[in-house]
């Protein structure tokens, strides 16, 4: 459905996306994960036809976004990160507008509007203006405007930012509904838990480049059979690195003044050894957490920095 091939986008001297290639298929949630400025939005904007690639190609359902932009956009539904709604129009009127923009008219439009209002749980507030909605309700309406025309390809750019857990879960359910009817969903987020729970395929981006890609299991395999030990307290960075330098099967992921993260094989059994090394480095240990590797620790392993930085 979406084929991105060696995409490069440059703004003056700044390379926002470089050598980005991936394929997202129908019936699949494809996640684009990375911190702010990683190149996710640039990539999604190139797919949506809002930016013209400097080089490389992007096609949506066989339509090249540069040579056949209208063909590509007809198959797309876009849910932007910002609440792109008409504040002075009711939820129903907003849905009518966006449905109309994608060519829906008359009875078909009204049916879709009613269906979507029901799906996003706003049928009782359909006549209210978004300015009177909670943040979560606005997010749901923002999402609804992107699916009112039942797109084959849905681009979701951080759709759950600032949403309460209940609304988030409701939104994610609606995303799964789209996949269930055969749509291809491209989902950008910097919430790793969300990506882990939702995405079938993932691409992790940093500084405009893809640094890892695959299914969640494939990405976990990149970490090997390692656990992640997170220790908080007070640390001397140099002394910590020296303490673990040359220790087999241990990698220092992060060292800050108040937190250290280690990736270690069979960390459960080696806990006394690891904490002992830390204590010898002069650390004041206050709390420890041992966890299975996740996207956060993978990102730390690959880039040396936290995903949320």
């Amino acid at each position: 459905m979406i084929v991105v091939n060696e995409l490069r986008k440059q703004f003056g001297q700044l390379v926002a996306a470089e050598d980005v290639s991936f394929t997202a298929k129908a019936g699949q949630i494809f996640g684009l994960l990375g911190p702010n400025g990683a190149g996710k939005s640039t990539t999604i904007n190139c797919i949506a036809g809002l930016l013209t690639p400097t080089s490389g190609t992007v096609s949506v359902k066989g339509h090249d976004v540069v040579s056949d932009p209208l063909g590509a956009r007809r198959t797309l539904g876009v849910v932007p990160q910002e609440l792109a709604l008409y504040e002075d129009l009711s939820a129903r009127e907003n849905l009518r507008f966006w449905g109309g923009a994608y060519g829906l008219r008359g009875q078909q439009l009204e049916e879709r509007v009613n269906t979507v209002l029901s799906q996003i749980g706003l049928q009782d507030r359909a006549g209210d203006k978004p300015e009177n909605y909670s943040g979560g309700m606005k997010r749901r309406l923002n999402f609804g405007c992107g699916i009112v025309h039942q797109p084959d390809v849905l681009l979701l750019d951080e759709p759950t930012v600032g949403v309460d857990p209940q609304s988030r879960e409701r939104l994610l359910e609606r995303v799964r509904d789209q996949v269930a009817r055969g749509a291809c969903v491209l989902y950008t987020t910097h919430y790793m838990e969300e990506a882990e729970a939702l995405c079938d395929q993932l691409v992790i981006m940093d500084h405009g480049k893809i640094i890892a890609s695959g299914t969640m299991d494939e990405l976990r395999e990149m970490m090997g059979e390692r656990d992640v030990l997170r220790v908080s307290g007070r640390f001397d960075g140099q002394a910590v690195r020296k303490a673990f330098d040359g220790m087999a099967g241990v990698e220092v992921l992060q060292v800050d003044a108040d937190v250290v993260q280690l990736s270690a094989e069979t960390a459960t059994r080696r806990l006394p050894e690891l904490l002992g090394a830390l204590a010898e480095s002069g650390a004041d240990i206050q709390e420890t957490t041992l966890a299975r590797p996740n996207l956060e620790s993978l990102f730390l392993l690959l880039t040396g920095k936290a995903l949320r930085e």
Partner: protein, 392 residues
């Protein structure tokens, strides 16, 4: 580009804009208030309309004698509607005019001195006091007509004296003789009555408010759509850039047309403004003006950085262009430098064209230069609008 898709955008745009109660107030209520207050303050229904009477009030002392009657006759011959007051009662006219309008209520006033006839018969001079409140151009024309009446009376005096003496009988005999040669004084070319009252306030306010509404409501809605990400989202819909830009342009144009339509209907029904005889040319001129305002609004809504900036520039430039272009007062009464400046401004072109068509009755083609200038402005500003249109 498909027109139906652009029309869809335009329809939604105008529907969205008209949802705003402030816009509705500026569209309907405020122009009506401005029409009323400015129009009333500058002459009301009597201002510059073709029905305005050519009244002149004369104050006649009881001992003025028969020459005061002769002078009144000659004033009447000069095209004035003479309203006579007794000098000792200037509240109610003796003849002509309205009973409830006093001598001071007339713009043109002539005071005849006491003992006029006796002074002339004795060979002494007599001083007539003429005053007027009409604008400079009309005052000059009135002065010529008053002078003509006075000179004709002098000629009557000489003729009567030669014929046997200056007395009432000889003057009456003189009046009975059919004149072989008559001098008719009237303005050359078409009527050139500088509009005042509602005849100036309604078109002037309409022109200024069209610009004001477009540069505030029109530009601000575009600015908000841009900054809230709506235009960006729209750009990802299956609509071409041309369809979106043209649709937005048409939406704003509808707003301008609504403003002009409301003002014209209100002007006709409530303020007796006469849009004839060149109604179609007036409509063409106003549509060209609406097009220019629309293009300005698109540019402002696209380049504005904050809502306050868009609103501030919109209000300030509308007021400035309105004032300098002759929307608040007829530019014909303004100093020469202001008239020259107005001739460089689109508001000035519009008002100049409207004055020619509505007040000077100079014919439809007389406003063609202004129409062409406005069409060119619309086109040039439209190109800027297309170039500057931003989706984010």
């Amino acid at each position: 580009m498909r027109l139906s898709r652009a029309l869809f955008i335009a329809r939604k745009d105008i529907a969205y804009t008209l949802k705003d109660k402030t816009t509705l107030a500026w569209l309907i209520l405020m122009p009506a208030l401005f029409f009323y207050f400015i129009g009333t303050a500058t002459g009301g229904f009597g201002g510059g309309g073709s029905d305005a009477p050519d009244n002149i009030a004369i104050s006649v002392p009881a001992d003025a004698g028969f020459l005061s009657g002769q002078l009144a006759l000659r004033l009447s011959d000069s095209g004035f509607n003479v309203v006579t007051f007794a000098a000792d009662n200037l509240e109610v006219p003796v003849s002509g005019g309205e009973q409830d309008v006093a001598f001071d209520g007339y713009c043109r006033r002539l005071v005849i001195p006491a003992g006029l006839t006796r002074s002339v018969q004795d060979g002494d001079g007599a001083l007539l006091d003429y005053s007027t409140c009409t604008d400079e151009l009309n005052a000059q024309f009135d002065e010529v007509r008053v002078q003509r009446a006075v000179y004709t009376t002098l000629a009557d005096i000489i003729a009567a004296s030669v014929a046997g003496g200056l007395n009432e009988t000889n003057i009456a005999a003189l009046n009975a003789i059919e004149r072989v040669v008559t001098l008719e004084v009237r303005p050359a070319g078409k009527k050139r009555e500088i509009p005042t009252g509602f005849q100036q306030a309604v078109p002037g306010t309409m022109v200024m408010f069209t610009l004001l509404v477009l540069l505030t409501s029109g530009a601000i809605t575009l600015y908000l759509e841009r900054t809230r990400g709506v235009l960006r989202r729209l750009a990802s819909a299956p609509l071409s850039r041309g369809e979106i830009v043209f649709g937005k342009w048409m939406g704003k144009m509808f707003l301008a047309v609504i403003q002009i339509g409301i003002a014209m209907v209100m002007g006709s029904l409530l303020f007796k403004v006469n849009w004839q005889p060149d109604f179609l040319m007036i409509v063409a001129l106003l549509l060209a003006w609406a097009g220019a305002c629309t293009s300005f609004a698109i540019v402002l809504g696209s380049v504005g950085r904050t809502e306050g900036q868009v609103s501030g520039i919109g209000v300030l430039s509308s007021m400035l262009l309105g004032g300098l272009g002759g929307c608040w007062w007829p530019i014909e009464i303004a100093p020469a430098w202001m008239q020259q400046l107005a001739s460089l401004l689109p508001t000035g072109w519009t008002m100049n064209g409207l004055h020619r068509l509505m007040s000077f009755e100079a014919g439809a083609l007389s406003a063609l230069p202004e129409l062409m200038l406005l069409v060119a402005t619309t086109a040039i500003a439209g190109i800027f609008a297309v170039k500057s249109f931003r989706f984010e």
